[in-house]
Symmetry: C2
Subunit: 337 residues, 2 copies
């Protein structure tokens, strides 16, 4: 087999906009690359397709391993493709994807129906790298999928660590999957994630599990009223689904669409997207500045000693910061008025 022809930025953009799955896949590989030449080319491609992005509904889906995330996504995705005529892309953010252990598996066999359907495009999490790197690649993959004509983008993540905040920062609607009566799974959930969710969904509400699922729904509905309301001004519903039976999926999608309509009318939808863009800008800058600082040889040589002194309470963090910043020839630590 011949190696794939090297494409220009214009080739990539044209292929993506024409909806070519092959070119879309290669363009995503390009934005995932850490080679400077690839990154420059990727930026050109993104800039070219940017006017054709932004029209999809971006939905974050999270939940701890065992909650049935793959099965849920397969079932909801199939409903959208078969019954609603949607073109769907499924992306993932999972910084642990190279390490196993609670990670989202990269293979497409966990969503066999979607993987085989031409209206669905599945891309596993970029492997390895920092959360910042994975997040950037996924945000840019999302834009490419929109340019390729996908109406709905799912961004999947595991319900632990910082990856939720990252995914929450790139989607319009954030859905948290839970199991009924499974106290143990809560141990694994990041605190604060409940209040980040635009809706909760109790999965596996079938077989002998149904009464427990209904009770859990009532409990969560009451509990959420005791917590601060979402900034969207929208209700935070608790839904029941059974991926096996295919029940509840239309209801989930009705909630997502009602949310989108209401927040588009109120202006919150557009405002949230703008804030996400600006946050991404400022986070990119902060990450670059910190990456340069911690890569400085003098800082690297001194950092372990200073960190130890700070952790042991022998040096104030502020004095330590001043010392390290002086080493890097860098910024003065000062309290700006």
């Amino acid at each position: 087999m011949l190696p794939p022809k090297r494409l220009s930025a214009a080739d990539y953009a044209a292929g993506v906009l024409a909806g070519s799955r092959t070119v879309l896949g290669r363009a995503i590989t390009l934005v995932e690359s850490t080679l400077p030449a690839d990154q420059a080319l990727a930026e050109e491609v993104l800039q070219a397709v940017l006017p054709h992005t932004g029209h999809s509904l971006r939905v974050g889906i999270t939940g701890v391993p065992g909650v049935g995330k793959s099965t849920f996504i397969e079932a909801l995705g199939r409903y959208l493709v078969e019954h609603r005529g949607k073109k769907l892309a499924v992306l993932a953010v999972d910084p642990s994807s190279q390490r196993g252990g609670g990670s989202i598996l990269g293979d497409k066999t966990r969503m066999p129906w979607l993987a085989a359907h031409p209206a669905a495009f599945i891309r596993p999490s970029p492997a390895g790298g920092s959360l910042g790197g994975v997040a950037r690649a996924t945000r840019e993959a999302l834009l490419l999928c929109e340019a390729a004509g996908h109406d709905v983008i799912f961004v999947e993540t595991v319900g632990v660590g910082q990856s939720e905040t990252t995914v929450h920062g790139m989607v319009d609607f954030f859905l948290l999957l839970l199991l009924a009566g499974a106290g143990d799974e809560l141990q694994g959930l990041k605190r604060g994630i409940m209040e980040m969710a635009d809706a909760l969904c109790i999965t596996k509400a079938d077989e002998g599990n149904e009464p427990a699922a209904r009770r859990a729904r009532i409990d969560y509905q009451s509990a959420l009223h005791l917590f601060p309301p979402p900034p969207s001004g929208q209700p935070q519903p608790v839904l029941l689904t059974s991926a096996v039976r295919g029940t509840g999926l239309a209801e989930v999608w009705a909630v997502v669409e009602a949310y989108a309509t209401a927040t588009q009318q109120s202006g919150y939808f557009q405002q949230r997207r703008q804030q996400q863009q600006l946050q991404w800008l400022h986070q990119s800058i902060a990450q670059a500045l910190e990456a340069r600082f911690y890569a400085d040889a003098a800082v690297q040589a001194r950092l372990p000693t200073v960190q130890q002194a700070v952790a042991a309470g022998r040096l104030t963090p502020f004095a330590a910061a001043t010392e390290l910043l002086a080493l890097s020839g860098g910024a003065r630590v000062t309290t700006t008025p």
Copy 2:
């Protein structure tokens, strides 16, 4: 009146360690100063007293305006001083303190008993400045108060915005005050704050309000079981107090002490403090790097245009970051593997 004599770092340290309220007050003014000479002197003072810090219990107290925070602090503080023989300092973090509107009032008249008692030291929030600046001053004031022999430090904040996360990052125990049945107050609370709290406390559980307070307690207790448990491994109790009647205060303090004992035994207490120190170090560095970057003349000239293009979706945040970083002669944005 003669102006106060200028003190050396050794004078400050000796005065603070001897428990002089006057010198403690002046040392806090010094750490609040934004003058480089004062900051250098402040660092010397802090370094000198550092071995005498760390022995107090640091308690964060938050709640929206109207919840009765001042009255609660006055009542709990009085209990600690009168009945438990504690020496107490009350600090505050309120970046809005210069602007009024939901801010913590600076005057001591809202805690008249504590203000008049020699075993209590009250210091209002440093006025104005960024949250970062206010946070630094308060963290350093906390160390000075410990060196001056205070056994308990309250750090008070308003229940909105980012100041909670900041206070949560400098205390051992975080207490959230709530009103019974006051749905409106929840509107003002920051989302996620419930799950940050080590205990909830329903205030004003007196007069006709008692039945509602008891119901609210049961509701919150049930609700918290549906949320991920605290990383401390400790229960997250819901307490009832009446500052007017003086009830529930001993119970609140028993919870704080039981928490401290249990987490000191498990090692979580020490671990949390170490993490806080290291976070403070890395935040100080990040803030200094970003402050320098955004102060750059070329960046300032270009930023508004770039931000507008990003918010409007005409430029990717990553491309915008690359452009701004190039202007500052600064770090390359790159995805580190």
